[in-house]
Symmetry: C2
DNA sequence: CTATGGATACAACCCTTGGTTGTGGCCGGG
DNA sequence: CCCGGCCACAACCAAGGGTTGTATCCATAG
């Protein structure tokens, strides 16, 4: 199905006749006739009743019309999403179901008129490069890498500390615990596939390991959260860390448990990064919204690497 | 833009390489390459970075991807909306902003999983024919026409009495009234363009006129509610009737007033009509919903023509 | 270092799609 | 009864889009 044909259908429906629609679209009446005929062949029903003084929608055509308009609207938005000028606010985050997505949902509820696009870049290095180039407008990341300060033109503000939770299967030794201390985790196998060297999130877990003497296995590629959850559920001796604000597609019947970690509670520090001279109007709105709704961070009893930017 | 191209884009993004996407779509890799190139030319930005072992999305491509998926979803719904089998529940009503649309909004809130399509047929005769043929599943109308009973296979139930209101401009003699009695309306010019002979809504106003000795002018074609509202606002001696549940796009600065009518309050009786043997599962859900949320009708102090079906 | 395999891009060819022009049929109004 | 307006059908033509064949690039294995 071609969107030009859909456009033709809408124009013909609005005009009530093919000829006027043809004039609007700068094609001949015969072309409109052929397009409509092709569309009717595609969907398998008659959309217009042709009369000697025009064409009016059939019931099926009436039902189809709003969907056609919606189709054109969505196409419009799709194109503007990659337009260089006046495009939606484009935000990078760690993962589509991470805590940052919760913040963005809140922002969207508060400002439904602002168009948003979410992308997921590899690490903060890529994110900073994308912010500097203007490819994205903002990023939710942990900053900065140890010994690698942010460039001058990038600003950042810490917006959310996400408490880590332990994820275990039903047969795990800690499965029935209401909460566990960091000290209790020493000696347990914690599996986090996909930790890539040189990324800021791997640096975070490296620090966590060094600080509290934990054992984190990063072996094997990451086959996706489904496969990870399956393995965790089936392996009694295995656990993994998960952001406490992560909304999982919870697999039914796996018996997985999320267990808070305490003494101290490791928190993953999300900061908002943006380029100082980025003129996107929605960026200021986002910053104001986050400042207004900022959750507590750097709270007592929590731990984060000392290289993260201060609160 | 062709939806086949969008489909190709999504397939390539999912596969991470053109070759596999080509195999899925049963075309050659070269065709995929050309389609993607055409799409990139259309939107004006690069969507993939080609590597020797595949193609991965650029940031723009990532931003575009969810829009592309949405586009395909909407297209799918558009097609199923005119599919004969398992299509959305198709409901006819008097006007898109009439009281019936409020009922349907409530139904949609209660059952957001049920797809709906709204159409507006000419009159009850057309609606009954469409219901019998299966072209639509239900209709909100005033039934039945005087002396013209519903066919055997059509059922109906009165679901909502909509009180009429008087709509006047700021300079009208009744503009400052909190409410008016029917008796007060005698002698005032009431203008309702577009009252077509033989329709059930014209029959309603004919009865109203006969019962209370009103003056309703139906002269002139209906140029749409905007034009009607403009005229009403500008003409001191002119008023019109409007459904009390109608949600107008209220023109700013016109000073229009909506005035309740009493002694008695004329109500427009909306009934739900459907074919007894219509198997659409959502139809039963709609009937149950309307039965559960039924607003009062046939209340004391209201008037409706005696030919409408009993409550 | 070289050969190989797998991936994309480019070129040539050809068919099909889709546009235009020309024409006929239908119905309502003067 | 004729005329005018509108849509459908046929013929023609150009261009888009698919296929086959080939070049290029890079990672990996030998």
């Amino acid at each position: 199905m071609d969107l030009d044909i859909v456009r033709t259908f809408v124009a013909a429906a609005d005009a009530g006749q093919f000829q006027e629609a043809a004039a609007e679209l700068a094609i001949t009446q015969q072309a409109v006739s052929k397009r409509i005929a092709a569309l009717e062949r595609d969907v398998g029903v008659r959309l217009f009743t042709r009369t000697p003084r025009g064409a009016e929608l059939t019931i099926d055509g009436q039902a189809f019309l709003p969907h056609a308009r919606e189709l054109l609207r969505v196409a419009e938005r799709a194109v503007t999403s990659v337009c260089t000028g006046r495009r939606p606010l484009r935000v990078d985050m760690l993962a589509s179901r991470s805590a940052a997505s919760g913040l963005m949902r809140g922002f969207h509820r508060a400002h439904p008129e602002i168009d948003l696009d979410v992308v997921m870049l590899f690490d903060i290095e890529k994110a900073v490069a994308a912010i500097r180039s203007g490819a994205i407008d903002a990023s939710f990341r942990a900053v900065a890498m140890p010994g690698r300060p942010l460039p001058e033109d990038i600003e950042s503000v810490r917006v959310l500390d996400e408490p880590l939770q332990l994820l275990v299967g039903p047969a795990h030794a800690l499965a029935s615990a209401r909460s566990v201390t960091v000290a209790q985790l020493a000696g347990h196998r914690i599996w986090m596939p996909g930790l890539a060297p040189g990324t800021e999130w791997t640096a975070y877990y490296d620090d966590l390991v060094a600080e509290f003497g934990l054992t984190i296995e990063a072996t094997g590629p990451n086959f996706g959260s489904d496969a990870l959850l399956d393995t965790i559920a089936d392996t009694p001796a295995l656990a993994t860390f998960m952001g406490g604000r992560t909304r999982l597609v919870w697999p039914a019947g796996h018996g997985l448990r999320r267990i808070p970690v305490t003494d101290p509670t490791p928190v993953y520090p999300h900061s908002l990064l943006w380029r100082r001279d980025n003129p996107h109007p929605a960026l200021a709105t986002l910053r104001a919204h986050l400042a207004a709704t900022a959750a507590g961070h750097g709270a007592a009893g929590t731990w984060a690497p000392d290289w993260v930017i201060p609160r």
